[in-house]
């Protein structure tokens, strides 16, 4: 309990008949970088707005630094927030933008100056202090928006899709900066995004959300390699994990997933419990866990035909037909295949995922 920074207990929120969040629980450790990841409408921004106090909850409690803030005003929660559209006050200079909240809180002038100087230094926006937001580039604006959270001198930073309005290059630059900021400040940060790259690169832990429910809460590698259910498996990774629907079969002390007339040997799969013969399952294999024309120890190979090739420079993405089903494989960039070529595939089942077809949970 000591080092919990933000704690959400049985939180529910509904607008009329529509339930957006349903008895949601989440504990965020002090200094942790937590990413709320999901597609639009999954409730991730709603959850963040509840934590910020910008939305009234229907039920449940929110604790920040062990203080029940469920009914507190946003300003009294010890949070700073960064918005997608920056939300800089357009008529105020950068400096005024930074000092506005502190003036409202009647912080002493010298203290305000000290904090602004510090924030400007950290974010390297000293030359911009006298400018209006309209005179700044997108990246500069977002820096100022982060600065506005920084000067509040708070324990918890909330980011609501802060990089979504920026172009790809700036986005990756600012991503690194946010990570650096977190490493130097060691504040708790809660970060909402729909971009899985941002989530995987930034997060200490990721909470993958769908329909107001957290599907999986774990560190990025676990989320990527051992997704808890079919939704998380399909949501994370681009191109998406290859799925084969089939049936478990046990023969000669080995386990197979029989799908589309193909027998995948899954004996190497680190299953959580014993396999049941006849169980309907979904086998998931990421594109980079398939070898093309390269034998893998103890794994049988399968015949497939190259359909389309997408060279991406460092990687080459092959779209193949395996027993009539389309699938993708990632290989090294210099290996090229013409459409129509027959290839041999072998699957690395040790890092594959198998889900129960009915419950969609990991086996």
């Amino acid at each position: 309990m000591e080092n919990v920074s933000v704690s959400v207990k049985d939180l529910s929120l509904s607008f009329g008949a529509v339930t957006v969040l349903d008895t949601l629980n989440l504990d965020i450790k002090d200094g942790e970088f937590l990413v709320l990841l999901g597609s639009s409408g999954c409730g991730k921004s709603t959850l963040l707005n509840c934590i910020a106090g910008l939305l009234d909850v229907s039920d449940g409690q929110i604790f920040i630094k062990n203080k029940n803030v469920t009914w507190e005003e946003p300003k009294d929660r010890g949070i700073g927030m960064v918005f997608q559209s920056y939300a800089l006050y357009p008529q105020m200079s950068v400096e005024k933008n930074l000092s506005f909240g502190l003036q409202v809180a009647k912080v002493e002038k010298t203290e305000i100056d000290r904090r602004i100087t510090r924030a400007a230094e950290i974010l390297q926006i000293q030359p911009l202090l006298k400018r209006k937001p309209a005179e700044l580039s997108g990246g500069q604006r977002q820096r100022v928006a982060i600065g506005r959270a920084l000067v509040r001198d708070v324990d918890v930073f909330l980011f609501d899709e802060p990089l979504s309005n920026l172009d790809a290059k700036l986005r990756s630059e600012l991503r690194v900066e946010i990570k650096r900021l977190h490493q130097s400040l060691k504040n708790t940060m809660i970060y909402v995004t729909h971009d899985q790259i941002e989530a995987l690169t930034l997060a200490d832990r990721i909470a993958v959300m769908k329909s107001g429910v957290i599907q999986q809460l774990a560190d990025p590698m676990t989320i990527y390699n051992a997704p808890e259910n079919l939704f998380v498996a399909g949501f994370i990774g681009s191109p998406s994990m290859n799925f084969f629907r089939g049936e478990l079969q046990l023969r000669d002390g080995r386990a197979f997933v029989h799908a589309n007339g193909v027998d995948f040997d899954v004996s190497a799969y680190p299953s959580r419990g014993p396999f049941k013969a006849g169980q309907k399952v979904v086998l998931g294999v990421r594109p980079e866990h398939v070898r093309v024309d390269e034998a893998l120890d103890g794994q049988p190979s399968h015949q497939a035909v190259v359909d389309i090739e997408e060279p991406m420079g460092a990687d080459n993405l092959l779209w193949l037909k395996l027993a009539g089903q389309s699938m993708s494989v990632r290989i090294a960039g210099q290996r090229r295949y013409k459409p129509g070529t027959a290839v041999k595939l072998s699957f690395d089942m040790a890092v594959a995922s198998i889900f129960d077809a009915a419950s969609e949970n990991r086996l």
Partner: protein, 302 residues
Amino acid sequence: MAGHTRGSGRPNQWLRNLNAKLASIPMILTAVVIFLGGTIWTVVYSFTNSKLLPRLSFVGLDQYERLWAAPRWLMSVQNLAIYGLLSLIFSLAIGFLLAALMDQKIRFENTFRTIMLYPFALSFIVTGLVWQWLLNPEYGIQSVVRSLGWTSFAFDPLYNANIVIYGILIAALWQGTGLVMCLMLAGLRGIDEDIWKAARVDGIPMWKTYVFVIIPMMRGVFITTLVIIASGIVKVYDLVVAQTSGGPGIASEVPAKYVYDYMFQAQNLGQGFAASTMMLITVAIIIVPWAYLEFGGGRKRA
């Protein structure tokens, strides 16, 4: 979780958002007391025989019977019907034609727009007086045309009981078509440029594009404009007062003037209330279907 730290008590429901509620008091008072209360009050008192002062002695539909038997009221209603119908047709037609002309990527668009819209900045009183002067048979258009040789030319609508309402219509169109043109132009500008490009590639003549593609797309603009014109028509008062004072005789009376005269001059409040209630019903007939179309479907969005 034992011992909830309820340091800050939940604020009282009434006190939540208190400033917003305080700030809305003028709106709430206006909406409830004046708009709702005032309307109900007038409707209720239209069933009384109030004369100089409002009195609550109910006489049923007496006032309405008297109203619909009064020649002046019947003339008012007839005038409003003619004036309303014609001004709807003409202002929509002229307004759209002008907007279509203005939309031909012409030069001096701003100048033309400024000229067509300036009468809308003028009051009905000013409009009425100007046209009273222009239509003056002794010195105005009629006398100018006569002096050019057509000595039998007759154009004196304001002094001819049969056509006086058209004289008022001319002034009203002069004042209001600029606005309709502006609304229509805004509607035309709101139409995707690609529609025009597609029609041009398909070789559809311009007038056909307007009739079969653009006008159906502007349905919303047309309906809104219609409602604006219509609710303005029902209120027409100043223009008549300035231009003809209801004359010659009672030939250009309108309902709004009937109400005012009975309330504040003839000291016959009951008649005034009954007449104004009839105006309310007229507006309701226009507004309710529109509001239903406009907001009945829009509910889902909210």
